[in-house]
């Protein structure tokens, strides 16, 4: 009998009064930094995996390498209405079941291609029952793009941003603007 089943038995025997320690069917530590969201450490980890599917590491860093999940949670926590926050967290909580029901495995057990397909499909689901999940995934995608592109890493090392954009030229030939391609 493994530890999880043993604990479950114990809980049943004692009328559910046993505090169940952290494991996948209990609530783990709620992160105090995002006070409006009640997001757990494992949910944040999952969010990180999703953002890393949206913008993966390659020749240059990906979303997870530069703490985009933290940016996503800050934006959801600070810049959204409570209704939208509820949609987001409901969607986040529903994501593991969506993965299991669709792919039959946990998210971290899927191949990159399977993860991408799952998320792309998830952003386009219809029907009321999928509303929160779709909202969560689209919001995560939007903030992943924003947090990644408007990061110190991208704006200093990859596509340097200047506060002084230079003199205006109102008729630049697009063919004169060819830049070396950046390989992600």
């Amino acid at each position: 009998m493994n530890r999880r089943i043993a604990l479950r038995h114990l809980a049943l025997i004692s009328g559910g009064l046993v505090m169940i320690p952290s494991c996948d069917f209990s609530s783990d530590d709620i992160l105090a930094a995002y006070e409006n969201l009640k997001v757990t450490a494992s949910q944040k980890k999952l969010l990180g995996e999703i953002s890393n599917t949206i913008i993966p590491a390659g020749e240059i860093k990906g979303a997870l390498d530069i703490e985009v999940p933290d940016f996503i949670l800050v934006m959801v926590n600070d810049c959204m209405t409570s209704e939208n926050q509820a949609q987001f967290t409901t969607g986040l909580a529903a994501f593991p079941d969506y993965v299991k029901n669709t792919a039959g495995k946990q998210y971290d057990k899927l191949s990159t291609k399977e993860k991408e397909e799952l998320i792309l499909a998830g952003t386009k689901l219809e029907g009321d029952e999928n509303k929160a999940l779709t909202y969560f995934l689209n919001t995560t995608k939007r903030f992943t793009i924003q947090g990644y592109m408007a990061s110190e890493y991208i704006q200093t090392e990859i596509m340097p941003y200047s506060l002084i954009p230079g003199e205006y030229n109102g008729a630049v030939l697009i063919t004169d603007l060819q830049k070396p391609r950046i390989n992600g």
Partner: protein
């Protein structure tokens, strides 16, 4: 004790007091100081020193925790100021939060304010078009409001005076509706804007124009502006944060440091003006009563000349609150019209479209301005079913947008290599003249007080039938002009915004020839209290269509010279 009091009173006596340090107040102070007048400038907000107090000016996009967005909690607490386009994470510290200075909206009115040294001159859109003779003649010709007691020729040299100092870039366009001024080199229109400019001339027989909008940015003559410690505009388009180069005109970068350098200016921040004091025997104002914003204690300052430049609605509030036996309904209010005939600019409508032409071009770099349509309706004579007309902004732009449909490595590579160009975007917004009416007014609430114990201002201002007709005409005409130029996917909008969001509220202390129908004479003096000058937006008799700040600057400079001349008589 008596001696102490006398000395204390002497210490608080100046040769002039200016109420307000925004665009018009600081101009009055600068002129007075240049003329050797010991001047006290009162500002209700905190001090903001050029450069030193621009905390966000050199911040990079990723240094803003929310990348520019205002957190939801702040938006929820500030439903009014959150509507303003410039109320963003980088500049929200320069705006008045809703609870700081409550007011009563008898009708919806978004009152956008900046209480600090420099006022809204830090935040303005920096567009500076002169009024023309057509504008000053408007009320008399069309039979509304009252006749302006001045004409273009009275203001012409003052426009030049302030333009040379502030720095105005523009082209000599030779248009009677928008007189040329003292210009630094103008900014270039882009290839599609120039195309549209030509098409307009072609399609309307030279009767409609779109020009590069004149803006208060330094573009050349650098030695001249170095005397103010200001330099060339760097096209950052981050003006609302305060400019470290002094590239655009603000009180903070220009008139205030200049006035301080004369040694004649005393700047007193954190002084909320309660009222202007009146001496019945002399028939003159004697000074200003203020509430210290920190201690909430009342203090008095004295001077033989008072300039009131608290910004349009607050100047109304101060005069309404300056009561005495002689003026039970507010200082200078013999006509009973104080607070009435308030007007604004109608910014409700806009048109956007796409242009498939010039597909081989885009733009690069930045510029601080874009295109401007001077008024073309009812210029020489009445020709529509509404009075007056509208100016409009115009701009075209294009940029590479990354494709964001994919995810994974494809998305990443698209984001890092934005090379897909859609069609050019073109857009316009209207700036309509509104007709001042007695029913558009501000007044003091008899019960409600603000956190300083001052009566709250009741605002009762709305659009009228003339405005609705003008919106309809603007949308029709702009659609036609876009269509004739070959623009496609033309979209019109009327965002139904409340008055106020234009931040061009004007009037209530209007100028006029007759004390029975106006508050101020042609020199900006209260008819019945000639040592009080009001030279901000509250003095406007009508609104025309041009962005008004340049006119306030010219008013303030002209009136300051008048006051000094009078004092020497």
């Amino acid at each position: 004790m008596a001696n102490l009091n006398i000395r204390s009173q002497q210490d608080r006596t100046y040769e002039a007091i200016v109420i307000g340090s925004g665009i018009s107040g600081a101009w009055a102070a600068k002129e007075l100081c240049d003329l050797g007048v010991k001047t006290l400038m009162l500002e209700r907000g905190r001090n903001v020193e050029h450069n030193k107090d621009y905390p966000t000016t050199n911040m990079l996009p990723y240094e803003f925790e929310h990348r520019g967005q205002v957190p939801q909690k702040i938006q929820d607490e500030n439903p009014v100021v959150s509507k303003c386009y410039a109320f963003r994470e980088d500049a929200m510290h320069f705006f008045v939060k809703d609870k700081e200075h409550p007011y009563v909206q008898e009708k919806p009115f978004d009152w956008i304010r900046g209480y600090q040294v420099g006022g809204k001159s830090l935040l303005w859109a920096r567009q500076v078009q002169r009024w023309s003779e057509y504008d000053f003649e408007g009320p008399a010709r069309d039979g509304f409001a009252v006749d302006w007691p001045i004409r273009y020729k009275d203001l012409e040299s003052w426009y030049s005076h302030v333009e040379k100092f502030a720095g105005v870039s523009g082209n000599k366009d030779g248009l009677k509706t928008l007189p040329d001024g003292e210009f630094l080199p103008g900014y270039e229109l882009n290839v599609v804007e120039k195309y549209f400019q030509e098409k307009l001339k072609e399609n309307y027989g030279g009767s409609r124009h779109m020009i590069s909008s004149r803006c208060a940015h330094i573009n050349g003559n650098l030695e001249h502006f170095a005397q103010q410690g200001r330099g060339q505009c760097q096209n950052r388009n981050l003006c609302q944060r305060g400019c470290p180069f002094g590239g655009y005109f603000s009180s903070n970068s220009s008139t205030i440091p200049w006035a301080l350098k004369t040694g004649n200016l005393t700047l007193r921040p954190d002084a909320v003006v309660h009222s202007i004091m009146y001496d019945e025997e002399k028939g003159l104002a004697t000074g200003v009563r203020v509430i210290d914003a920190t201690t909430k204690e009342m203090e008095e300052f004295y001077a033989p000349v008072i300039f009131l430049n608290a910004a349009a609605l607050n100047s109304n509030l101060i005069l309404l609150n300056s009561t005495s036996n002689r003026f039970p309904n507010g200082m200078g209010n013999d006509s009973g019209l104080l607070g009435k005939y308030v007007a604004f600019h109608n910014y409700r409508a806009g048109v956007s479209a796409e242009y498939e032409g010039h597909a081989e071009y885009t733009t690069s770099g930045g510029r601080p301005t874009s295109g401007y349509f001077p008024r073309f309706r009812n210029v020489e004579k009445q020709e529509t079913d509404f009075l007056r007309g509208y100016a409009a902004g115009f701009s075209a732009g294009r940029g590479a947008r990354p494709e964001t449909d994919a995810i994974g490595m494809d998305l990443k590579n698209n984001l890092l290599n934005p090379d897909k160009y859609g069609p050019w975007y073109v857009g316009s917004h209207m700036m309509g003249e509104t007709i001042p009416k007695e029913t558009n007014y501000v007044a003091l609430d008899t019960n409600l007080k603000d956190p300083f114990g001052m009566p709250q201002l009741k605002i009762n201002i709305s659009y009228d039938d003339n405005d609705e007709k003008m919106i309809k005409d603007y949308l029709e005409q702009m659609t036609e002009m876009f269509d004739k130029a070959g623009f496609t996917n033309i979209q019109t909008r009327d965002d139904k915004r409340a008055p106020g969001l234009d931040i061009h509220e004007m009037g209530g202390v209007r100028m006029g020839r007759d004390p029975k129908t106006s508050l101020l004479n042609g020199n900006h003096q209260l008819h019945s209290v000639p040592n009080v000058y009001v030279t901000d937006g509250s003095s406007m008799t009508s609104t025309s269509t041009q962005n008004p700040s340049l006119t306030y600057m010219a008013f303030a400079a002209r009136a300051a010279h008048h006051a000094v001349k009078e004092s020497k008589k």
